[in-house]
């Protein structure tokens, strides 16, 4: 299934600016970005990102085994936001930044830790798509869990509709 994520240039810039800020103790910053799921012509899915939530510094938990860990307050906020976004079928995406240029992907830690959040989001926002986005300084990748799916669709393209336009495509290795 084809999956495409779009966002405005303004939103992309705001997320990059926030995620590149130093945190007092975490090695990385994370945030939540909200997106609305719609269909594409060939059965694919399009996620339109709408707004970003920066996680306050004091809602991180010290854990040196991972780049960043957020605490229960941040997760509670996220769940409530998913609940309130149900009418608009607005789902939630965990987002963070790998501070290099070029294509990026999930680290082993990312792959182990982040997908665990998804079933909880799905249980609250059943009709929305939820997922994971990882940005680099000039690229990005993502995974989308559509409603009722246990496996994600690997996002084929992230478009930044700004000036200039950014088109981050997944190079198919298969």
């Amino acid at each position: 299934m084809k999956a495409h994520i779009k966002m405005t240039g303004e939103l992309h810039a705001a997320m990059l600016k926030d995620l590149t800020r130093r945190h007092p103790f975490a090695r990385e910053r994370v945030g939540f970005v909200f997106g609305r799921l719609c269909s594409l012509s060939d059965g694919g899915r399009l996620v339109l990102l709408t707004r970003y939530h920066s996680i306050p510094d004091d809602q991180y938990v010290k854990d040196h085994t991972v780049g960043a860990r957020i605490g229960s307050t941040a997760m509670t906020w996220a769940m409530q936001a998913v609940y309130h976004g149900r009418l608009a079928r607005e789902g939630i995406f965990h987002i963070h930044l790998h501070g290099h240029r070029g294509e990026t992907g999930m680290s082993a830690t990312d792959g182990r830790e982040i997908p665990r959040l998804i079933p909880g989001f799905q249980s609250v926002g059943r009709d929305a798509g939820h997922g994971i986005i990882i940005l680099s300084l000039d690229h990005g990748c993502g995974w989308v869990w559509v409603p009722e799916s246990t496996e994600p669709a690997h996002v084929d393209c992230i478009s930044v509709i700004g000036s200039p336009i950014g088109v981050f495509e997944r190079r198919r290795t298969e």
Partner: protein, 267 residues
């Protein structure tokens, strides 16, 4: 193919060829304006297209339809076929989704685009295209021309860039209730709008220039919007006077929380 093919446009930036090739452009309407646009996009190196037109070539099109000839008029060649032939002739590996219907009947393919170049002939259709572009996050570049006055004809036209988050065609003073009302009042009696190739060429070229800048940012201007007014009698393209008093920072007509499929709030 020689590496020199795009050497004359290297000023667009070191990665411009790749950036251009990755962008998907939608062109609803392949008539006088659309045929120009498609030709230029193909020359520049755009590879991905979503095209709409349900019409065929007629003799009355031959004064302005780029790529059409007498045989096409006799054979009633679909305009879509003409456009595809033009693109493939320059970009054999192009990916073209050609839809022989009105875009309103099959709008979903447009959602994949980053840029939509509208070459339509009514204010109503322009309004509808802008709405879908705002809903599904696409830059919308609109062109149009008209000729006023019988005794002393005056050619006018516009090239407008309406981008998500920026001022829309209403904000910029182009779309107004008065224009839409006047157009609606003429329904069925609008007749054939005057159309000639050289103004279409100016408008299409300027539109393609805006599109290339959106992709490559070669000017460094990072435009959030544009409204360029064409005076066909003077031969000028100038920023519309309506932009001088534009104080709008966030478009009130298309708030960003209204993106995506329509949300019905039950009462």
């Amino acid at each position: 193919m020689s590496k020199d093919r795009y050497s004359r446009q290297s000023f667009l930036g070191a990665n411009s060829e790749e950036l251009i090739s990755r962008c998907t452009v939608g062109v609803p309407g392949l008539g006088g304006g659309g045929s120009h646009i498609v030709q230029q996009l193909a020359h520049i190196g755009f590879q991905r297209y979503v095209l709409y037109d349900y019409d065929v070539v007629e003799e009355s099109n031959l004064n302005r339809l780029v790529g059409a000839n007498l045989t096409d008029a006799l054979a009633e060649t679909p305009k879509l076929h003409l456009a595809k032939k033009m693109i493939y002739g320059l970009q054999p590996k192009a990916s073209i989704l050609g839809i022989p219907f009105k875009w309103q009947d099959k709008p979903e393919p447009l959602r994949e685009c980053q840029i939509v170049l509208g070459c339509v002939d009514s204010y109503k259709t322009r309004e509808e295209l802008e709405i879908i572009c705002r809903r599904y996050l696409m830059h919308y570049i609109d062109i149009g021309m008209d000729v006023h006055g019988k005794d002393k004809p005056v050619i006018g036209g516009q090239i407008i860039q309406s981008s998500p988050g920026g001022p829309c065609m209403r904000c910029m003073g182009f779309l107004t209730d008065e224009k839409l009302a006047a157009e609606a009042a003429l329904y069925g009696n609008a007749g054939h709008r005057p159309q000639v190739i050289w103004p279409n060429g100016v408008l299409a070229s300027t539109a393609v220039g805006l599109a290339v800048d959106l992709v490559t940012n070669w000017t460094g201007r990072s435009r959030t919007h544009a409204y360029l007014a064409y005076d066909g009698n003077e031969g000028t393209v100038r920023e519309s006077l309506t932009l001088r008093n534009l104080a709008i920072k966030e478009c009130p007509h298309f708030p960003l929380h209204e993106v995506g499929d329509p949300v019905l709030v039950e009462l």
